[in-house]
């Protein structure tokens, strides 16, 4: 799984908020797939020189108020916003997805699972868009097996917003069969209109090593790394 020596190694920031707990796995997975992960503390006002940012899973600020509501105001989020505005890649996983929605960087909201139970299991998701920087290693309609583990993963948007998301093909991954959390339209992942910000509830960082089951998470994180590497190779506009 190691990258070839001649390929430039993209740098990907992984932000740790108080209460993040998947930051470690995100770092390990990104490194295993050939990126150089850079750990960033939430209180930082600037990001190091990176091509992409991962907001990892966990329970930032204890999920107080609403999941992601307090983390989206952390100092580092201003820098994340700026990077995204410049076209930089931002991937929010689980709590990271919740934070991006609270920040208004992605539309919609994530609410308590319909069952009110915490779900922790492998789920199958269908790739609805294989042309985003986060899914370019996937085939159209490919089925991925990636674990979810969340209590508040029910994606909500009103009817008008769902129609808009569908019309503009911003739904990137959809649960196959019954959704584990009651998400509207089975939505497991959405991207912003520009396609450089994506949030997903499943955890690709927990699915990159055959030792623990599926390696389908590598399709997502590998895509991100490829896209980040490409942006690294792009000449800087003067």
């Amino acid at each position: 799984m190691s990258a070839s020596v001649c390929e430039p190694q993209p740098r990907v920031a992984v932000v740790t908020f108080p209460g993040s707990n998947d930051d470690g796995d995100a770092v390990l997975a990104l490194a295993a797939l050939g990126a150089e992960p850079v750990a960033v503390w939430h209180a930082e006002h600037e990001l190091p020189d990176v091509q992409a940012v991962v907001l990892p899973g966990g329970f930032s600020y204890g999920d107080y108020l609403r999941a992601g509501a307090l983390a989206h105001l952390a100092p580092v989020m201003k820098a994340v916003r700026a990077l995204a505005a410049d076209g930089g890649l931002v991937l929010g996983i689980c709590n990271g997805f919740q934070i991006l929605c609270e920040a208004g960087l992605l539309p919609g909201a994530l609410r308590a699972n319909h069952s009110l139970s915490f779900v922790c299991r492998d789920v199958a998701v269908r790739v609805e868009r294989a042309d985003t920087p986060f899914t370019r290693r996937c085939g159209e309609s490919q089925s991925l097996r990636i674990p979810v583990k969340h209590g508040e993963g029910c994606f909500f948007a009103d009817a008008a917003l769902v129609a808009e998301l569908e019309a503009s093909s911003q739904v990137v991954l959809r649960y196959e069969g019954e959704s584990p959390n009651g998400s509207i339209a089975g939505i497991a992942s959405i991207a912003n209109a520009d396609g450089n910000i994506m949030g997903l509830m499943p955890h690709p960082e927990h699915a990159v090593d055959p030792l623990v089951g599926s390696t389908d998470g590598a399709f997502i994180l590998g895509s991100l790394i490829d896209a980040a590497r490409e942006s690294l190779a792009e000449p800087v506009a003067v």
Binding site: L65, L73, A109, A112, N113, L116, F156, G182
Partner: protein
């Protein structure tokens, strides 16, 4: 000055917490038609202009205390006796 902010799930939005509480109330034998669970936020403010405080609280709700996509809010401003 004090304010009590009530945050509720918007009408039409499924409230699984409310449904679970409804089920338990019925189990206790109460005749209940519906339950919605929201949140109360008590805010202490300095002594200042009431209108200004109201405007500040509106901003607090919009920026943090409520998620306007899924929640409605009500602000109750109480001046200290």
């Amino acid at each position: 000055m004090r304010a009590t902010v009530l945050v509720r799930p918007k009408p039409g939005i499924l409230d699984p917490q409310g449904e679970a509480v409804l089920g338990s109330l019925r189990q206790l034998g109460f005749a209940v038609d519906d339950v919605r669970v929201g949140r109360v936020v008590d805010v202490e403010l300095g002594n200042g202009d009431r209108e200004h405080a109201q405007a500040e609280l509106e901003r607090m709700c919009k920026q943090l205390l409520a998620n306007p996509l899924i929640e409605s809010y009500e602000i109750e401003l109480v001046e200290d006796a």
